[in-house]
């Protein structure tokens, strides 16, 4: 779960990470009020879960109420790389001496947290890191020991941080590590990590990702879920406890098990089709779950045919067939379905489907055969 900047900064404040004063707003009026409260100049910032906001015109400095109003009007509702801006963060402008970069990431390869620091922060940090890898310093932290002072000193010295800032930058990294560990984050990124003209170190941005599996430990964060950012079909699926990812094709896909569904998408693409979604119905065969899944898939108007791919292991294909027949009676879909049942009790499952004589339902025994058939039917 990706937090918006202002949500990330709430966590930063909680853990003592210095951030500029600021206030959240979801209207032009609210933004102007917040700006007047904070005192000019302020920065009006679009709150969307994607980088490159500055370049897209989503971050603007305002020197008076009139300018604040104009910028807030322009930014609210703006589209930034596919994300519509519904919220703003109004922040007191900072004086900028230097821009650093700091991050703590979950290094899956080393299976340890990795702390990163660079003096070359700001825009285009990825390109800087690519051009001059030495400019981006990184080290792993043993999660059983946690972040130590020496980690901070070592990174700061290696990154070439000015002598007067070695200690404050190290302290800052330690506090960011606290956020990472105590909030169950899988990413904490600050770009830029600002050095003000008073030589104070401040987090000017906050990009925080929280592990969805750990939300039970953070009820306050679970409430922050930004549903406005989600696609309506994805939201509907989530409410029904299904794992659904919307894609942009016209072949609806439903299967059991994440790996098999991913493989099904690939096989449909190899057959010349374009998958409309990823949907893992899990191990269940209950009519209720299948009905829910079919409804979610068909709520996408682009879907012109659906492939239902089941390999029955513990789940029995005859049970799946019964669930499917019941679901069809409830939903009465208008587009053709190709059903591939293989595995435990597959013959019995196919027999039940054939006997039910569902309109527009085609059964197939193999994954490849089913993919070709559904692509043909989808047109």
């Amino acid at each position: 779960m990706d937090l918006l900047e202002y949500q990330g900064k709430q966590l930063f404040r909680k853990h003592g990470v210095p951030v500029p004063d600021g206030a959240h707003a979801d209207s032009v009026r609210g933004a102007v009020d917040a700006a007047e409260e904070l005192g000019f100049p302020v920065v009006i910032k679009a709150q969307v879960q994607i980088g490159g906001r500055g370049k897209a015109g989503g971050i603007k400095v305002a020197n008076d109420p009139e300018e604040a109003k104009r910028h807030a009007e322009a930014i609210l509702g703006m589209d930034i790389r596919g994300f519509t801006v519904h919220e703003l963060y109004v922040e007191k402008a900072s004086s900028i001496d230097e821009e650093y970069y700091a991050a703590i990431v979950f290094d899956r390869s080393a299976k340890k947290p990795m702390v990163m620091l660079s003096r070359m922060g700001g825009m285009d940090v990825e390109e800087v890191a690519e051009r001059d890898p030495e400019a981006m310093r990184m080290l792993h932290v043993d999660p059983l020991i946690g972040f130590q002072h020496f980690h901070g000193r070592r990174l700061a010295f290696e990154a070439g941080i000015a002598p007067d800032l070695i200690r404050p930058v190290g302290t800052m990294l330690g506090k960011l590590y606290d956020v990472f560990e105590e909030e169950d984050a899988t990413l904490v990124e600050v770009n830029p990590l600002l050095v003000t003209s008073e030589r104070e170190v401040v987090a000017l941005d906050a990009k925080v990702t929280i592990d969805g599996n750990a939300l039970y430990r953070h009820p306050d964060l679970a409430e922050l879920r930004d549903v406005s950012a989600e696609d309506p079909q994805e939201r509907m699926a989530k409410e029904r406890g299904l794992t659904y990812v919307k894609l942009d094709g016209n072949v609806g896909i439903l299967g059991n098990g994440a790996g098999l569904v991913m493989s099904t998408l690939d096989v449909v693409a190899q057959a010349g089709g374009r998958p409309a979604n990823f949907l893992d119905a899990g191990g269940g065969s209950k009519a209720e779950a299948i009905t829910s899944a079919v409804e979610v898939i068909l709520s996408d108007e682009k879907v012109s045919a659906v492939l239902f791919n089941i390999f029955g292991g513990i789940t029995r294909c005859d049970e799946v067939a019964k669930g499917l027949i019941e679901a069809f009676r409830q939903v009465e879909p208008e587009v053709p379905f190709v059903v591939r049942l293989d595995g435990t009790n597959d013959e019995e499952g196919r027999r039940l489907l054939a006997e039910a004589e569902l309109p527009n339902v085609h059964t197939e025994a193999t994954m490849l055969g089913a993919a070709e058939r559904v692509v043909e039917l989808a047109g």
Binding site: R108, R217, G259, V261
Partner: protein
């Protein structure tokens, strides 16, 4: 021969008294696995269809000589249960539980790497050594003894590919599900090393998916250390970046972790990559010769 589980396995199940735990424990026992005990705190002294239940792993190990643990407890208690099994001296811990917080997995992984226990999973279907032992939820009826070692990040996809291989007459030394989480206790490399050392395994099939760099690392390892043939399949060629595809670990981040990059890394090091499950079986026939 087989890897990890066989006739010497003495299994103790954490969460044996839960609905899923009971169901799969009894299935494993019916298959022939030597299930010696279970652990559910507060239910010590009870039994599940004759299998004694203990309050702690330590008493279960002392009383029944368990050497393998299967973890079936809910995600918020799973890390604790794995650590308890390790503390009690269990050699192999197979964690089926899905949804364990990533930071818990990180701490468990780094702790276990210092001790003597091996962890397979979490969020995995377990390990099946056909004809010998089944520890987990793999449907054993599709598989027979043979010389193909199968290692996979995904459950149902394993069954699909295993079944395609079975239809061509191939059996398995062992089938190992390493799980779909970002921090698996055992990696492809760990399991491939076991298959390489197993004289019965003539072909290793690895079934990967998008996310992370475990397949790329395995490619390097195979090129340097593995003498026998390895065949791979990667799921997720059509997955868009930034979206988690069902498994917590299956996410393409930026330009990293794509299926195309993984397939390329494997092929560059001489590992053949099947483009779909059926083609994997086709290539297996090319490598080992037709069986049916």
């Amino acid at each position: 021969m087989a890897v990890l589980v066989d006739r010497d396995t003495r299994l103790c199940v954490a969460g044996i008294t839960g609905r899923e735990g009971t169901f799969h424990t009894l299935r494993n026992r019916d298959y022939g696995t030597n299930v010696v005990s279970g652990v559910t705190p507060g239910k010590g002294g009870q039994d599940v269809d004759g299998i004694p239940v203990f309050d702690t792993f330590h008493t279960a190990v002392a009383e029944t000589g368990a050497n393998t643990a299967m973890i079936f407890v809910p995600p918020r208690f799973a890390a604790d249960s794995i650590l308890e099994a390790e503390d009690a001296g269990i050699e192999l811990i197979v964690a089926i539980t899905e949804g364990i917080p990533a930071h818990d997995e990180l701490r468990v992984y780094n702790h276990l790497r210092r001790g003597g226990s091996r962890l397979v999973g979490p969020n995995c279907p377990g390990i099946l050594s056909p004809g010998k032992a089944n520890v987990g939820i793999i449907p054993a009826q599709f598989f027979k003894e043979g010389n193909v070692g199968l290692v996979s990040r995904s459950g149902t996809l394993t069954y699909q590919i295993g079944n395609e291989l079975a239809q061509r007459g191939f059996g398995n030394s062992s089938i190992v599900g390493i799980g779909g989480d970002p921090v698996p206790g055992s990696s492809f490399i760990d399991i491939i090393a076991l298959f390489e050392a197993d004289p019965e395994t003539e072909l290793i099939v690895m079934c990967g998916e998008i996310g992370g760099s475990a397949e790329e690392e395995a490619a390097e390892y195979i090129a340097e250390k593995v003498s026998g043939p390895v065949l791979a399949y990667i799921a997720g060629f059509t997955a868009p970046p930034g979206k988690t595809m069902g498994h917590a670990g299956a996410i393409v981040s930026g330009s990293k972790g794509t299926a195309a990059a993984k397939a390329e890394a494997l092929e560059a090091r001489g590992v053949r990559v099947g483009r779909n499950p059926t083609q994997v079986a086709d290539v297996a026939v090319e490598i080992l010769g037709a069986r049916v």
